[in-house]
């Protein structure tokens, strides 16, 4: 008798589980962001009984490659959270699903200006923005009293707080990383691609910005050599870095007893333009191979809802894309999130066309060489030639 009851129980449990649709979401959040997302997922699972949302954290470094490899083989998630910049490649590879069929009219009005457009590729929309990320200037209020508004001010201030013998530096950022360098490059007026998607790495503006980056390191001597992201964190936490250029993720890396403030990236003095970093609009994207697309879309809708965005903003400390959240008191009074939103206004969405993947490696090679004293024009001409050659070989 016991066995029969047990069996009946097992069967009923099995049936109960079976009637629910499982939607798998991959993300690469850690720390506060992860905690917030888990809370959102729990709220969603408690709010209804049809769909079970299951989260899986995949390390950021491996994320795009895992998506690219897993989804075509039917092993991937139903939905995933990632920055918009890989959308083009994923569309060309047939990995992600267009969303027009699901969307209501006027959905774009729910997002912060500039966050929805990057989700488009060839006139179709492929993601719903959740948060916006761009780099910004962090400074240590113990060292810097009022943050610099121009690069001239920044250099002067940085010089006062630089002493290589003690390992102190005025400005620490990954200057040999093209992603970080892009804020100067675009501030000078350079771009990665022209209007016809042709790479223009060696434009005059771009060359000027490379020269500027070289001067910051070699001439002004305010940046430590060979900056890696570990070095940025270490120096800041030892209070040996007065200013740091990094993104919202840096907040999680700062020790609890080290104070920090943020400020917009400065106006570049020679051209009188504000530095324009790359902006990534992090969105929720649907797999083309999902077998529960309707349910997956319901989850996506929930994730961009006001309540979910509020949790992501307050607990996850994210500059969220949902615009109405900024009216709520807790967010409006936050010291940091509105500032990040302001910086988004001075930023350029990272190109999402697949050609971009071919730019990173040659561009990083060029900036590394220039930082270490090579001629900007020569290096950029070389990088431009390499990118064109690789693009041609890959069939673009």
């Amino acid at each position: 008798m016991k066995k029969i009851i047990l069996l009946a129980l097992l069967i009923s449990v099995f049936l109960a589980l079976h009637s629910q649709v499982k939607v798998v979401l991959w993300h690469s959040y850690r720390g506060d962001e992860k905690e917030a997302l888990v809370q959102v997922a729990n709220n969603f699972n408690n709010s209804q009984t049809e769909i079970v949302l299951e989260l899986l954290m995949v390390p950021f470094d491996a994320f795009p490659d895992k998506i690219t490899a897993a989804i075509p083989r039917g092993k991937g998630p139903d939905i995933f959270i990632f920055a918009h910049d890989r959308i083009g490649g994923w569309v060309e590879a047939g990995i992600i699903e267009p969303l027009e069929f699901y969307l209501e009219d006027g959905v774009e009005k729910r997002f912060v200006a500039g966050s929805y457009e990057p989700m488009f590729y060839k006139n179709s929309v492929y993601g719903l923005p959740m948060s916006l990320k761009s780099i910004i200037l962090f400074y240590n209020p113990n060292i810097i009293k009022s943050p610099p508004q121009t690069t001239a001010e920044m250099i002067t201030m940085a010089k006062q707080h630089t002493n290589p013998d003690e390992g102190r530096y005025g400005l620490v950022y990954e200057n040999a990383n093209y992603y970080y360098h892009a804020c100067w490059m675009q501030g000078f007026g350079g771009r990665v691609f022209d209007a016809n998607d042709k790479p223009i790495l060696n434009s005059e503006e771009s060359i000027a910005s490379f020269q500027f980056a070289q001067d910051l390191y070699l001439k002004e001597n305010i940046i430590p050599p060979e900056v890696s992201n570990v070095l940025v964190t270490t120096l800041y936490n030892e209070q040996k870095a007065a200013m740091v250029i990094s993104g919202p993720w840096f907040r999680g890396e700062i020790d609890k007893d080290v104070p920090y403030e943020i400020e917009l990236l400065p106006v570049i003095s020679p051209v009188n333009n504000r530095a324009m970093p790359f902006m990534s609009s992090e969105g929720i994207i649907m797999s083309a191979k999902s077998v529960h697309k309707d349910e997956a879309f319901k989850v996506m809708e929930y994730l961009i809802s006001d309540d979910a965005a509020f949790i992501m903003a307050t607990i996850g400390k994210q500059p969220v894309a949902n615009i109405s959240v900024y009216d709520r008191k807790e967010v409006a009074e936050d010291k940091y999130i509105p500032k990040f939103k302001e910086q988004i206004g001075y930023s350029i969405p990272m190109p999402s066309i697949p050609q971009m993947t071919f730019v990173w490696s040659p561009a990083s090679t060029a900036i590394t060489a220039v930082i270490n004293g090579k001629d900007p024009r020569e290096e950029l001409d070389k990088a431009q030639a390499t990118v064109l050659e690789n693009l041609k070989a890959a069939g673009f």
Binding site: E92, F101, P224, P225, K289, S361, N390, A393
Partner: protein
Amino acid sequence: MTRHRSWRIIALVIMAVIFALIYDNVVSNSEDKLLEIYSGDYAYLTAELMDKLERFSSEKEQTFPVALLLGFKDRNPDLRNLAIIKDRYYSVHTDSSLVGSRINKEIFDAQNILKQNLVTDTTERPYVIWRENREEAKTYLLYYPVVRDGELIGTILVETGIISGFPLNISIILVLIALVVFFLLTIILDLYLPRVSFLFCMLLFIAIIIMVNGNLRRQMEETQLRWHQYKQEVLSDLNAYMGDEGIDLTATSARMELPLQQTLRTWNFTISFLGVLLILLILTGALEYFLDTIITNRMAYAYILPAMFGVFLLVFFPFIYGVLIGFTDYNLTNFGGDLIEYFSDLKNYGFDNFYNILRVVNFNDYSNFYYTLVHTIIWTISNLAFHVSIGVALALLLNDVKLKGRTVFRILLILPWAIPSYITALIWKGMFHRQFGAVNGLLETLGFESISWFTKPFTAYLANLATNVWLGFPFMMVIALGALQSIPKELYEASAIDGSSKWQTFWNVTVPLLRPAMVPAIILGTIWTFNQFNVIYLVSGGGPDGATELLITDAYKLAFAQYRYGYAAAYCIIIFAVLFAYGILTSNVTKATKGAYE
């Protein structure tokens, strides 16, 4: 042979099941393909029609498409329901499984064509309406507002998903009956004519396949005809409605015939390939011999089966897959498609990758294959020299019985090997930091200038080398130590009695006896070092400017930074070829497997 009859029958059953599975796959694949072709085609067709109709109707009446859709409804029994809600058109069809992601792409291609050619001054994005009825029905209807000078002058509709099925009636029952007859015949034949039965059964099976294939082809042709008629009917309707402005659809018809032929050729290729392979296997007796060996040594094969399975899955399958990719232009733009379709099309194969890799010799270009090859070889030789000399020297020290605390030293010296190489590599990278690194700290204390290690090829190379020497010597030490301990003491005693010096003893006793253990270790070490990905990737990152890349890190970057999978796979095939040649050459020259006393 008769004693193995039951085994043979089981083998036959297994093969038949495999064939049935392959065949089933082919059939369902072909149905899918038909649907893809026609649904996509339908989108083009309707787009074209709608455009003409719109231009025609915008002058006359705005409600025109509704009438057209109603006409479609009468024509097409699959179209169950049609509703008009607030100027949008909804229609519901019978089968949801047929509208897949592939059709989406077709729609969007159609959409783009429309945008480029027709609706030049559309100010709005087109609406895309999706209606679906859960389990059974789904269709897409695209509604384009055409706006000129700020005024809505008409609409264009693109509709798809209407084609709900081209059932290919390969009746399962027919196939089942054929299979049952096949088995019965097999068993009867095996009882009375054991020698020829195998051959005969296989021929019979091929005959069945050819028959069913013929049936399939006939049905495809009928389907094509039906589609043609249907299109003609719609056309005549439309032409009647539109009066003088007729529609010329010769272009779409031509487009339609083409993919169908292509698909048929792909299956024919697959089936004939398998058939020919089978006939060859039977005629040469290979199959019979193979089965016979398996049956005779069945216990042995049963024991190694799990291992064989694992080896196939983890080694041979990826290897074959890699080799296949190496001959194709498999890259970012065709990554997500149907792999079976891609790999079964002979058009996709060629030697271009190899030609492009090997064509240019330029030692000034760090990304050139030959530069990287030479760098990799220098890297391997210099590493091995350090590994072996340090390893053997330490082993000789540790082998000295008079040394105190040998166990402690041995454990300490194995540590670099025991710690995961990622961690070690990252620690070394930190130690080579220009300002905060330990190496420059040491140099400065000794009164030297600090060095920027990763900005010059040679110093970056040295940093990599130091890291990999640290990682590599314990292995050689362990091997040498083991070999040293197995050298009999009598030999040293005899050598001492003969009055030889320590040096003579080393060269004439120790070295020859170390050799049999060290040579395979060196061959293995060469292969590891040649493909030492971790150290290069984590320490110098290949920089500056790719000067310290190895072939394997180059291949990685081609595959995962540029997404040129085919080209990267070709790179790997060349790496394999180099190492394979090296392996054969060294094992012949050094007689690696020669024992110590031979």
